[in-house]
Every structure is written in structure tokens, then in C-alpha cells.
């Protein structure tokens, strides 16, 4: 038992410290900070959803915010249409709610759709992308294009989405009629985050996770062992999309505002940066990256004037250049080195490209 605890990776300790910190945070901080932290925890969930996709399966989705935004918009629209046709629709001459908005008037259905819509979009996109064997950089480009397409779509459909202004004045989460306080909302978000974290850990540890890592390492080899990689990629894409949608739904009542910024390229890039800074494939890196960067963003922007983005940019550059595996990835390596375990230093994302005498033939065959 003791041995098991000692062998526990350093990342598990960090997770535990983070959890204790988040649980005790409201005891020390003002309601304003607690509200900020709620948003931060939502971003942790969002980052986790990308980590099972990018970190585990190696599918770098450059448009991941589309799932976040879809989940968010479904819930935001359901709030907006709760009491009939909202003002922004009236100004475009809509007098009666179309059928797809009437469905959203039912809160329970809206919550369900907030998961199912991103999941269905992921399934549809994933089906076409993965069965047509789009891989590597082409996958990245397609997802980037899709993100800007969806952003454009939400900007243009002003009648139904509020266009570039987004949808504002959204109420906080309520439970049985009475709205939740900031503190209650915070702990609700935290519990959801904890459940998502446990789910992702389970996913990574079961055989499915092992196969995902095999997809990342050597997809073409996997086929000759009887696996259909497209099926595994499709499932993780859908699961990841649904978790991102869930985080988008939580975001809406906490932020009380959603706009196309939350669905497009810029926000997609943010989550990539969190993972790049924190590290990929171990869940902890994704959370630490999201946590540090969003927290730095708000602290720096309070203390410095316009130069805060420069400082943040410099920090990101330093991390990415000097710790290409991210803060947590580097920490895990360092720790393994120290305890005399295997040094997996060659095993970063670029390992696939490195040509060694052993894989020369394989690479040549692929080309």
C-alpha cells in the first residue's frame, strides 16, 4: 500500500493540491474572486475535454471552441426564449418562435441538447473526417476552417443568435425556482469539474485510453492488429465534444453573456495555448495550464495597462520554447529521471517525425 502511494505519479499529487486549493478558495477570497474562479474551473473542464482528444489520441483540434460555444448557445437561447420572443429577435421582425426554439423553452430538454448538439456535430464532422482518413496537419486545417465557419455562421444569423452582440443578461443558475448564490454556483461547478476529471482519468486508464495512445503513436500499425482507428477517433471526438459542450453550458449562467467570441478561432487558440503551456496527455497539465493562464490574464490586466498581453505572451513563449512538453510534462520527466525510472524524453509529439534507422523504412513506406 505504502509502495503504491510512493509510486503515485507527481501529477496525482498536484491534482490533489489543486483540488484542496479550489475547495478552500472561497474561505479566503472575496465573492468577486470566487466568481472569477468559477469561470476558471469551467475552463479547466474545457481544457480536460481537449486533453483527451489532443493529449491522448494526438488529434489536435484547432477549433475546439465550437463545441464549447454550441453548448453555451443552446443554453443561452433557452434562457432567452423562456418568456416568449426575446427583444433581439423582435427587432429583426420575428414575432413567433420557430420550432427549434420552442423546444428550448423546456429547461430539461435544453440541458440535454446542450450535450447532444455538440455531440451530434462532433459525430457528423468526425464521421466524414475520420472515415475519409484525413490525418495530421490536414485534420488541423479542417478543424480551424470549421471553427471560423461556425463563428461566421453565428455572426450572420443575427435573427436567432444576436449576431456579434451575442446574447446578454442571462440569469444565474437556479434550482427549483430560487437562483443559486455565487458560492453555491462555485461549488456546483467544482463538483461537475471533479466528476469530469474522474471520468477522464478512467478513460485514460482503461483499454480505450491505451488504444487512443496507440492511435497517437502509430495509427497505421494499429490497423494490422485488427483495430479500426476511425471508430476510436470518432468516439473520443464525440465524447470530447460533449464535455466541451458541458463546460460551455456552465459558462453561460456564470458569465451571464455569450458571444461569437466563445465559439470561434481565438478562443480555440486559447485552449490550445493552455495545453501547450501546461502539457498534454496527463490531464494535470491541461488543468494547470488553464488555471495559470486565465489567472495570470486577470491579475495582469488589473495591474498593468495595455502591456499585460506582452508579458503573458513572453511567458508563453518561454514555456513553449524551453519546456516543449509543457510545465507538467517536464516535471513528470524530471521526477522519473530522479527516481531512476525510464526517461521518455524522446517521446514528445515530434517523435513521430524523427527519422531513426529503425523507423526509416516505416516513414518511407508512409510517404
Amino acid at each position: 500500500m505504502l509502495n503504491k502511494i510512493r509510486n503515485l505519479g507527481i501529477e496525482k499529487y498536484i491534482d490533489l493540491i489543486l483540488l484542496i486549493f479550489l475547495i478552500s478558495f472561497p474561505l479566503l477570497a472575496s465573492p468577486f474572486r470566487v466568481e472569477l474562479m468559477s469561470k476558471c474551473v469551467i475552463y479547466l473542464i474545457f481544457a480536460l475535454s481537449l486533453d483527451i482528444l489532443w493529449g491522448s489520441a494526438g488529434l489536435m483540434n484547432l477549433g475546439h471552441a465550437m463545441f464549447f460555444g454550441l453548448g453555451g448557445y443552446v443554453l443561452a437561447l433557452s434562457y432567452a426564449v423562456k418568456n416568449g420572443v426575446p427583444a433581439f429577435m423582435v427587432s429583426f421582425g420575428v414575432t413567433e418562435l420557430p420550432w427549434f426554439m420552442q423546444i428550448l423553452q423546456n429547461q430539461a430538454v435544453a440541458f440535454l441538447l446542450g450535450l447532444l448538439v455538440p455531440g451530434a456535430v462532433a459525430a457528423l464532422l468526425g464521421y466524414f473526417i475520420f472515415t475519409s482518413r484525413v490525418k495530421g496537419v490536414f485534420f488541423n486545417i479542417i478543424t480551424l476552417a470549421l471553427a471560423s465557419l461556425i463563428e461566421l455562421f453565428f455572426n450572420n444569423q443575427q435573427k436567432y443568435t444576436g449576431g456579434a452582440n451575442g446574447i446578454s443578461g442571462l440569469p444565474p443558475l437556479s434550482f427549483g425556482g430560487s437562483p443559486l448564490s455565487i458560492l453555491e454556483t462555485y461549488y456546483l461547478v467544482l463538483v461537475v469539474a471533479l466528476l469530469v476529471y474522474i471520468f477522464c482519468r478512467w478513460l485514460n486508464n482503461c483499454r480505450f485510453g491505451l488504444i487512443l495512445r496507440s492511435v497517437r503513436e502509430n495509427e497505421s500499425r494499429l490497423q494490422f492488429l485488427g483495430f479500426n482507428p476511425a471508430a476510436f477517433k470518432l468516439v473520443v471526438f464525440v465524447v470530447s465534444g460533449m464535455i466541451a459542450g458541458l463546460s460551455g453550458m456552465l459558462y453561460v449562467p456564470v458569465n451571464s453573456f455569450i458571444s461569437p467570441n466563445n465559439i470561434g478561432v481565438v478562443f480555440s487558440t486559447s485552449v490550445l495555448v493552455w495545453l501547450a503551456v501546461g502539457g498534454r496527455g496527463n490531464l494535470t497539465g491541461a488543468m494547470i495550464g488553464a488555471f495559470l493562464i486565465t489567472w495570470m490574464e486577470s491579475l495582469l490586466s488589473e495591474r498593468l495597462d495595455d502591456s499585460w498581453q506582452l508579458v503573458l505572451g513572453a511567458v508563453m513563449l518561454i514555456v513553449v520554447v524551453f519546456f516543449p512538453k509543457g510545465i507538467i510534462g517536464t516535471l513528470i520527466d524530471w521526477r522519473k529521471n530522479k527516481t531512476g525510472h525510464q526517461q521518455p524524453s524522446e517521446c514528445d509529439d515530434s517523435a513521430e517525425q524523427a527519422i531513426t534507422p529503425d523507423n526509416y523504412n516505416v516513414i518511407r513506406e508512409k510517404v
Binding site: C206, R207, F208, L210, I211, R213, S214, E217, N218, R221, L222, Q223, F224, L225, G226, F227, N228, P229, A231, F232, V235, Q342, P344, E346, C347, A351, P357, D358, N359, Y360, N361, V362, E365
Partner: protein, 254 residues
């Protein structure tokens, strides 16, 4: 009818006929070696049997079913064909143990990957495979840190874990020392005793060690077929293949 039967199989890559109407039959339990000079179409034939390349003509019958043009994963899971690639082709950043675990037969659907449990029987199975390929003591090592020969063996272990009926080995001894080559030959003889095995190989001593029957390809066509001794004495084979390498060089220069 033979267990594996290629009937007039051809494939061309943008006009170049890589394999030209090759027919061959391999009996159940046989170990067949395919030899031939570079570019003879040996690997292409393995590619077609395992689904990497679809033939442009002909039939590939495995136990009576036509598998030509199916996806690699279907051929591997439904028709139980295993493949060892030329030059070890592994999951680099997984451990030796995990490489074998991925390959284990019968757990390759998405659903099964969720309900799979590493129970006692599975642990025993992996342990037995790892012992057979002499890597049990290195089970927690990343496959990247193995030596070249060990990597070749690990891939052989993966093929065994796949429990195939038909095993294709593409140059299993490439880059090995003489000692390792000999050990590999013994592995094939013991571990794959009751399986049907097709081996593509260059090393003539190794061919002699394992082959029951040898097929010689030349420029995409079947040149000769028979026991090792028959083939070795066949004048056509001697002319295109078994000559000294020096002659090949001369040919190329000319």
C-alpha cells in the same frame, strides 16, 4: 484447395506492374519463404494479403473467403492475419508490456475496449508471450529504448498475441546479428509451429533454417517454387538471385 491461395494476382502502381499474375498456394501449417531480388514484389504481395494494398486483378482466398481489397483491420480481426513489418513497427512511447497488451486478440472493438479488464488470465498470457520473446525482464521499459533486435522480437510477440491463423513476416531478421538471427529462426519454429507462416527474407542461411518450401519472385513474376535445395540448384534462380552481389553491381552500372 490450399489454406491461402493467390489466383492470378496483379497490382500496378500508376502503370508500373509491380506484381504480374502471381498464383501460389500455401497449405495450413506450412512455413513458406518468399525470396527474390529487390523490387521483385515480395513486400507488395504481403501488402495485398494484409490489406495495405488492393490488388488490381485476381483473387486472394484465405480459407475459402476472398479477402482481396478488404480493410487491414477486417483482415486482421475477422480473417486472423498477423503481420510483422519490415523494420520494427511498434508503438514507440508505450512500454513493452503495453505493446503486447494492445495487440491481444479479441479486444479490438470500441465496446470491448471499455469493458476490458486486465484479469489473471490476461496477465498470464502476456507473461507467457513476454517470456517467449525474452523480454519479460524489460516489460516496463519503453519500446524506444530496446535494441534493434529486441524491437524485432517485440513485434513478433505482438503478432503472437494477435493469435493469427496466418502470419506474415517481412524480413524478420533485418539488421540482426548472426546470433539474434539464429534465435529468431528458433522462435519462428517453436512459437509459430502450428500456424501458417509466410516469410519474406534475404538471408540465405536463415531461409535454409526455417523454410519448408521456397517461392522465388523476379520482377513481379513467379520464377520458381520448391524445396530449398531444389530452388538453390535451379539455374534460373541462380542467375537472377543467388549470384554474388558484385554481379548485381555490375548490372546496375551497365
Amino acid at each position: 484447395m490450399s489454406f491461402l491461395e493467390l489466383q492470378d494476382v496483379s497490382v500496378s502502381f500508376s502503370g508500373f506492374l509491380a506484381v504480374d499474375k502471381v498464383s501460389l498456394g500455401v497449405e495450413q501449417g506450412e512455413t513458406r519463404v518468399i525470396i527474390g531480388p529487390n523490387g521483385a514484389g515480395k513486400t507488395t504481395i504481403i501488402d495485398m494479403i494484409t490489406g495495405k494494398t488492393a490488388p488490381t486483378g485476381g483473387k486472394i482466398l484465405l480459407d475459402g473467403a476472398d479477402i482481396a481489397g478488404l480493410d487491414p483491420y477486417e483482415i486482421a480481426s475477422k480473417h486472423k492475419v498477423g503481420r510483422k513489418f519490415q523494420g520494427p513497427n511498434l508503438f514507440d512511447c508505450l512500454t513493452v508490456y503495453e505493446n503486447i497488451e494492445v495487440a491481444l486478440a479479441g479486444h479490438s472493438s470500441v465496446f470491448k475496449s471499455f469493458v476490458y479488464k486486465r484479469d489473471k488470465a490476461i496477465k498470464e498470457e502476456i507473461k507467457s508471450i513476454l517470456s517467449q520473446i525474452n523480454l519479460y525482464n524489460k516489460r516496463d521499459v519503453l519500446s524506444t529504448s530496446l535494441s534493434h533486435g529486441e524491437r524485432q522480437w517485440l513485434e513478433m510477440g505482438m503478432v503472437i498475441a494477435q493469435k493469427p491463423e496466418l502470419i506474415t513476416l517481412d524480413e524478420p531478421t533485418a539488421g540482426m546479428t548472426a546470433d539474434e538471427t539464429c534465435k529468431t529462426g528458433e522462435m519462428i519454429k517453436t512459437m509459430m509451429k502450428d500456424k501458417t507462416v509466410i516469410v519474406v527474407e534475404h538471408d540465405i542461411d536463415f531461409v535454409e533454417q526455417i523454410a519448408q518450401k521456397v517461392t522465388v519472385l523476379h520482377q513481379g513474376k513467379l520464377l520458381a517454387e520448391g524445396s530449398f535445395d531444389e530452388v538453390k540448384k535451379n539455374p534460373k534462380v541462380v542467375q537472377v538471385y543467388l549470384k554474388d552481389d558484385d554481379d548485381e553491381e555490375v548490372e546496375k552500372d551497365a
